[in-house]
């Protein structure tokens, strides 16, 4: 799992996760992880469509910080 996959890789990963969820083959224990990952990828793609590489890097760094902060709360 790359943190900054290209559009194709991101789309394929999102599609796989959504398919798992729709087919209800996703393990309930990892559901939250998968949803988080897909949400990250969707956000990453949407950001990337509208920002330059530098801006994207900044956004990703912020996101990682948020993630870490979130993980600290757990």
């Amino acid at each position: 799992m790359k943190d900054a996959p290209n559009y194709k890789e991101a789309l394929e990963e999102i599609e796989a996760i959504v398919e798992e969820i729709e087919n209800e083959t996703v393990d309930v224990d990892v559901l939250s992880e998968k949803v988080k990952r897909a949400a990250y990828l969707i956000r990453h793609c949407r950001e990337k469509l509208r920002k330059t590489d530098d801006e994207i890097r900044k956004v990703l760094e912020d996101f990682e910080k948020e993630e870490k902060a979130g993980a600290g709360d757990d």
């Binding site: 559009y7 194709k8 599609e15 969820i21 729709e22 309930v28 969707i42 793609c45 949407r46 469509l49």
Partner: protein, 431 residues
């Protein structure tokens, strides 16, 4: 040897011979080798066999005719009178004593050139087909998100400006990273310039998603440079898909044919790119929607599963509890019964106790009765007592010792109120 002529005389002779012996006009086909317009249009015309020039001549279109001829020609063919163009023209052969032999072009038939251009284009296309190049660029996968655009154009071209404006101001706020590969887009130098720009794109292919070729203004002219085998081949061999936006309504050029996609105007090229990205984002959006829906569904299912379980559990425990309750009830009832029984018994016992209390000698003594003992035995009949026996009488409080002086053995106390004794008792208080 006859008299020598002056050069002028000779040239005058040549001019007279030519003008007298040749028809007024000829229909001639030739290829333009060069074209120079300085008020009048001066041309160099050649006739080639393969690539070898086998005939050449100077020609002129006088300014008075040139404007009309050029206008019609360009309108009909989409090409300018320029190098490489083949023309069918009506000309007069003329000879000038100083300027020599030349053709004066009176008219040009554009339909010949149109045909020639079509033939040339067809030949190039056939060659590209034969060499397996024609569909090579079309075979490339078009990027999911064409965001990094290599643009082959002239920075001063109106088409380039249109493209940039549309890409920059797209309605969705998509960011395009564009790189201009400057090229001459018309005239003799266009072909080499475009091929060079394509070469630069190929070298920088890793940081590009797609190549766009856009031309200047919306005119129909100078498209013949795009009917080039070399450009076609360069596009075919590019590792990136090419969008041709050279803008024309006439027959498609070789560049159009060999490119991955084509659009009529630079604006249409921009729309194509924006739409492609919008398609991608639509997919992402619908996936996001599907995920939210799916997760909701999934968690709802889980919740329902849980509440079904919980209901089952409730029912199960309810049954068990109910059973226990019945059992408890029975217990309680039994217990109540037992308690009542016990209470009853207690009351009975209490009753009995009071009876027993009545029987207690102490209580009898309280009522004034006394017990008389003779030698430790209660005296119940007078007959058992002798005169002078010492009797011990137990009262409610204290005891008396007395000596028997007499007795009446045949009389009972009960029913005899006038009790009579044998004598008087000598009573002695022990306390």
């Amino acid at each position: 040897m006859s008299k020598a002529l002056s050069l002028f005389e000779l040239n005058q002779l040549i001019r007279t011979v030519l003008e007298n012996s040749l028809p007024d006009t000829f229909l001639v086909t030739a290829e333009i080798a060069s074209c120079d317009v300085k008020n009048h249009c001066y041309l160099s015309l050649v006739d080639k066999e393969e690539d070898t020039i086998r005939a050449e001549i100077k020609a002129v279109i006088w300014a008075g005719r040139y404007k009309e001829i050029a206008e019609i020609f360009e309108k009909e063919t989409g090409a300018r009178l320029s190098k490489g163009i083949k023309i069918l023209f009506q000309a007069t052969v003329s000879f000038h004593e100083r300027y020599g032999l030349k053709l004066t072009i009176n008219n040009i038939d554009p339909s010949y050139t149109v045909g020639e251009l079509a033939v040339k284009r067809r030949e190039i296309l056939e060659r590209l087909v034969k060499e397996g190049l024609i569909d090579k660029n079309k075979g490339l996968e078009f990027p999911l998100v064409p965001q990094r655009i290599g643009i082959i154009s002239s920075s001063t071209a109106a088409g380039y400006e249109d493209l940039m404006t549309h890409l920059t101001n797209n309605a969705y706020g998509y960011k395009f990273v564009t790189t201009l590969y400057e090229a001459v887009m018309q005239g003799d130098r266009a072909e080499a310039s475009i091929i060079s720009a394509l070469g630069q794109c190929a070298a920088e292919a890793v940081r590009l998603d797609v190549i766009v070729i856009v031309r200047g203004g919306g005119g129909q002219l100078d498209l013949q440079c795009f009917d080039s085998y070399e450009i076609g081949k360069a596009i075919a061999l590019l590792p990136l898909p090419v969008i041709s936006g050279i803008g024309h309504q006439r027959d498609v050029t070789v560049t159009d044919e060999v490119s991955h996609s084509r659009a009529k105007t630079p604006t249409a090229v921009a729309d194509m790119l924006i739409t492609k990205i919008r398609d991608f984002e639509d997919r992402i959006d619908s996936l996001a929607h599907a995920m939210v829906h799916g997760v909701r569904h999934l968690t709802l299912d889980m919740k329902e599963g849980l509440s079904a379980l919980s209901r089952k559990l409730e029912i199960a425990t309810g049954n068990k509890l109910l059973g226990n309750f019945h059992l408890l009830n029975t217990f309680v009832k039994g217990l109540q019964y037992s308690l009542r029984y016990i209470l009853n018994e207690q009351q009975k016992l209490a009753g009995r106790e009071s009876n027993i209390n009545h029987l207690n000698p102490v209580n009898i003594l309280k009522r004034g009765y006394s017990i008389t003992y003779n030698n430790g035995k209660a005296v119940k009949a007078a007959s058992g007592v002798k005169i002078n026996d010492t009797l011990r009488t137990v009262l409610h409080e204290g005891e008396l010792l007395s000596r028997v002086e007499g007795r009446q053995s045949d009389k009972r106390i009960r029913g005899n109120k006038d009790k009579k004794t044998d004598g008087t008792a000598n009573l002695k208080l022990y306390d």
